[in-house]
Symmetry: C2
Subunit: 218 residues, 2 copies
Amino acid sequence: MTERHIVQRKRNRGQYDFEALCAVLDDTIVCHVGFVQDGEPVVIPMLYARDGRDLLLHGSVASRLLGELAKGIPVCVTVTHIDGLVLAASVFDHSVNYRSAVIFGKAHEIEDPDEKARIFDHMVEYMIPGRTKEARPANHKETAATTVLRLSIDSFSVKQRKGPAGPVDAGDPKNVWTGVISLSTHCGPPQTEQDPGQVPDYISDYRLDADRLNRRKS
Amino acid sequence: MTERHIVQRKRNRGQYDFEALCAVLDDTIVCHVGFVQDGEPVVIPMLYARDGRDLLLHGSVASRLLGELAKGIPVCVTVTHIDGLVLAASVFDHSVNYRSAVIFGKAHEIEDPDEKARIFDHMVEYMIPGRTKEARPANHKETAATTVLRLSIDSFSVKQRKGPAGPVDAGDPKNVWTGVISLSTHCGPPQTEQDPGQVPDYISDYRLDADRLNRRKS
């Protein structure tokens, strides 16, 4: 891990173990992919699936972005959760509880149609465990329309803040409410034009968190 | 707006009016800031507040990132909402409902202590309307410890997908559940070590959405 990847500020908030990285990655499905185009930065949101120590990305073969990334250029992928607003007695001490992962790596394109179809399955299963038992797998026409990239995680850092607001300083007002407003991703009831009685458990019980992958295994 | 900022893929999903941009920006408080460092991309999550047609960013004066951005280098700021998972009969047709804004601009540093203190207030008020009626404003020691950046939005694009899954294709299985699992940001009950009876309305009623700014005005 090079110096660039060491959390510089608030070093006690930095973590570099892979388990901490997975906890951040597996808790959502959207990342922000940064790359350099004509010397300038571009940041695009993309869906991803983790596959062991790699990230899988995909998009249309017509996408400029995917074409750039497939060249193996340096990429920075960042995933962030905002877990709460931290309200302190002073404006300055306000903060947020968060978890973020910053990954540096390079992507390469997967070209074999069968491997691409397997990756499609993996991506859908990563996002919605149980789904590939029902949905039709991709055919070769569909894999040919899609660029699939495998991004090796060359280096990463994980950073977080959690916990309550700090104590009220001596000079600060005592009668101000201090504490945390927690934030989380909520799943609404499944919306369908079908008979709602037919909703499978893996959909009605769905939650977008890292535990969805464990619930699938059990 | 240069060619780079035109949504290339799924052009019917692109929007370029400022109102559409505000709707995406005001619905959250975290963005992903991309810039080029030593020729390589870096993407960092940051809190922001919109101030008219600018974004306000801040961080410690010790932050390398803020120091880089303060030089006025090109920056790409991206904000993304995932509003739902779209489940189709085929793996290939799975999608997400989302809204995203990609902004290109340059930042400059705000140095006047009083203006910095006003920006602190604006940022906290943007994130938690009503808060600055209670919390102590920043003093000069605190503003001196903080780099404040104003980023002019030079160009932007907004992209979204919304609505149900597409119709089931003739060749796809008919007995697969199709529909949308909606996702939203949920605020838990305020957590404090104070007497819960003292929670002000602007905290107990807090929701992290664009409407919080209208609720403040009313």
